[in-house]
């Protein structure tokens, strides 16, 4: 039987296109120091460190957690590095939580980061592979045909993506750490932005950011003695499937559905839309919000876009999605998944400041990566399961 694990501290950097004011170590410590302060502990109190980030070619440092051991005062401690593509921030938090749940460490610091302005992100993410046909369409070019598939099968009106984008960018204005602070978007202005990879528009696309997120996790025994507010981890889930195979369902991948179903089962959730107060889901291209609402089991198949149109996912709606502004407003790739998991924790800890959803008791963090093939989720609550 696993131990209980709680988030007792959360810290993140001010995410930006280029954090030229700090070194990689400085970026990481900015988030770490805030998390430690939030948890009211010192770095000496940390038993183990679990770090995740995306491909190392983004910064040009191979396995940087080795070099960062000094900056993290990790001498004599375990340092563990996770890399599961875009979902890495989420899977890292899960691996860290499992160190606590397994009873191996009582206080674990977990970090997700990316300082992608140090390198060339576009190149680093799509180094051309010999013998293939480079169409140079990037991530947007990969996902936009899938979005086209969703629009076709669901009959969603064309403005839904822009609605999500306006919502997330507006929400981000209430998040001091978010990369993009763009208060003046309206749906009309959004629909005038150019198509980048038709049907995905400019405003519906995530930025490229430098940033880091850190969480302090504690075992139940230690968390019970800890005076601050906590986010108890009720359940975690991960699923993966191959990138491409004949007949693969790309719009609503089975791995995502199974990951969510596993999470609901473990957490005893029968009706996600009613029982969950807020969702931080990984939406790098706006259309993924209606798609994931369906994939995760909140909205029925082909109905996710209606929820967006009806305002269900607005901050004042019945199921707020991404009150932090989400990946659409900040995307340091290695950190983004942990930003979702951490923002979910902040909500139930009552620490989300201006973008707090009042009375949030149960929140979900979600991350995905690769060709929509790696999924990681957790459910956190202000009370123990």
């Amino acid at each position: 039987m696993a131990e209980l694990c709680a988030v007792v501290g959360v810290g993140q950097t001010k995410h930006a296109a280029c954090r030229a004011d700090v070194s990689i170590a400085g970026l990481v410590r900015e988030a770490v120091d805030r998390a430690l302060a939030d948890a009211n502990i010192t770095i000496a109190d940390v038993d183990a460190i679990v770090i995740g980030k995306a491909p190392d070619s983004l910064e040009g440092v191979a396995m940087p957690e080795l070099w960062l051991a000094d900056a993290l005062a990790a001498h004599g401690k375990p340092v563990f590095r996770v890399h599961t593509a875009g979902s890495v921030g989420g899977s890292t938090a899960i691996v860290a939580a499992q160190h606590v749940m397994a009873g191996i460490h009582g206080t674990v610091l977990t970090i997700g980061f990316e300082k992608q302005s140090d390198g060339n992100a576009m190149w680093a993410l799509s180094v051309p592979i010999p013998f293939g046909m480079p169409v140079h369409a990037g991530a947007g070019g990969y996902f936009s045909p899938i979005v086209r598939g969703y629009i076709g099968r669901s009959g969603a009106p064309k403005h839904i993506g822009a609605m999500v984008a306006v919502k997330d960018r507006t929400n981000a204005c209430k998040n001091p750490y978010a990369h993009l602070h763009e208060p003046d978007w309206t749906l009309e202005k959004a629909l005038e932005t150019p198509m980048l990879w038709d049907p995905i528009r400019f405003i519906e696309t995530c930025p490229s950011s430098d940033g880091a997120m850190a969480l302090v996790l504690m075992s139940e025994e230690r968390a019970d003695k800890h005076a601050g507010r906590k986010a108890w981890v009720h359940a975690t889930a991960m699923r993966s499937e191959p990138t491409a195979f004949a007949g693969r369902e790309q719009v609503s991948p089975v791995a995502g559905e199974m990951c969510a179903a596993d999470l609901w089962r473990k957490a005893g959730i029968k009706n996600p839309a009613e029982e969950i107060d807020v969702v931080e889901m990984y939406v790098p291209f706006a259309w993924f919000e209606p798609m994931w609402l369906e994939n995760l089991g909140f909205a029925p198949r082909n109905e996710g876009w209606r929820w967006v149109e009806d305002g269900v996912t607005e901050m004042g709606g019945s199921l707020p999605v991404n009150p932090s502004g989400g990946v659409l407003s900040s995307n340091p790739i290695g950190a983004s998944g942990m930003l979702r998991f951490g923002e979910a924790a902040m909500q139930v800890m009552g620490k989300a400041g201006e973008h707090q959803i009042d009375g949030a008791k149960k929140a979900v963090g979600h991350a995905y990566g690769g060709g929509s093939q790696f999924f990681a989720m957790w459910l956190v609550s202000s009370t123990k399961p």
Partner: protein
């Protein structure tokens, strides 16, 4: 090295050279491309035909693909996007269409460019055929095909628009 705001910035180019192998299971596929043909491979378990034969394995069954199958040359667009983003070193004129094409006889689509028509005329279900570069430029690569163009045949009705497969 540059200095600004009291910070020193060092630009350090890092060049690493690798030998990349397509692997023996790609041999007939690549040899096919050098002979102007599309050679896919069949999974011995689920019998589906893969073109290109990624890593020579069927990802669903975890079996080495066996048995060459000639596919195409024509195919059907299963999904696509219109790219409007300039890419570093780009030679293709914007906007251009990147499409998933299901070659006749294959069970999984491949990615390539669509040209010789207006971007807004591209449709799911459109029939296309390859336009090869001059033979003198051929190598073991899908780049031997300059692009695909519409054949003018009637569209094929696709199954549920799954998006890419």
């Amino acid at each position: 090295m540059s200095e600004a705001d009291g910070l020193v910035r060092l630009r350090q180019p890092i060049g690493v050279t690798y030998n990349w192998s397509a692997g023996p299971n790609a041999t007939s596929h690549l040899a096919g491309l050098m002979a102007g043909k599309f050679i896919g491979k069949r999974c011995p378990s689920c019998t589906l035909v893969y073109f290109p034969p990624r890593n020579g394995v069927c990802p669903k069954c975890a079996k080495i693909l066996a048995g060459d199958v000639e596919v195409g040359p024509k195919g059907t667009i299963t999904t696509f996007c219109i790219v409007n983003v300039p890419f570093l070193g780009q030679k293709i004129k914007l906007p251009y269409v990147a499409a998933q094409i299901l070659l006749d006889g294959a069970d999984i689509s491949m990615q390539h460019l669509i040209q010789e028509c207006e971007a807004e005329d591209v449709r799911i279900g459109m029939r296309v055929e390859p336009v090869w570069k001059d033979k003198s430029e051929w190598g073991p690569s899908l780049e031997n095909i300059q692009h695909f163009r519409p054949t003018g045949e009637p569209d094929r009705v696709m199954g549920s628009e799954s998006g890419a497969s």
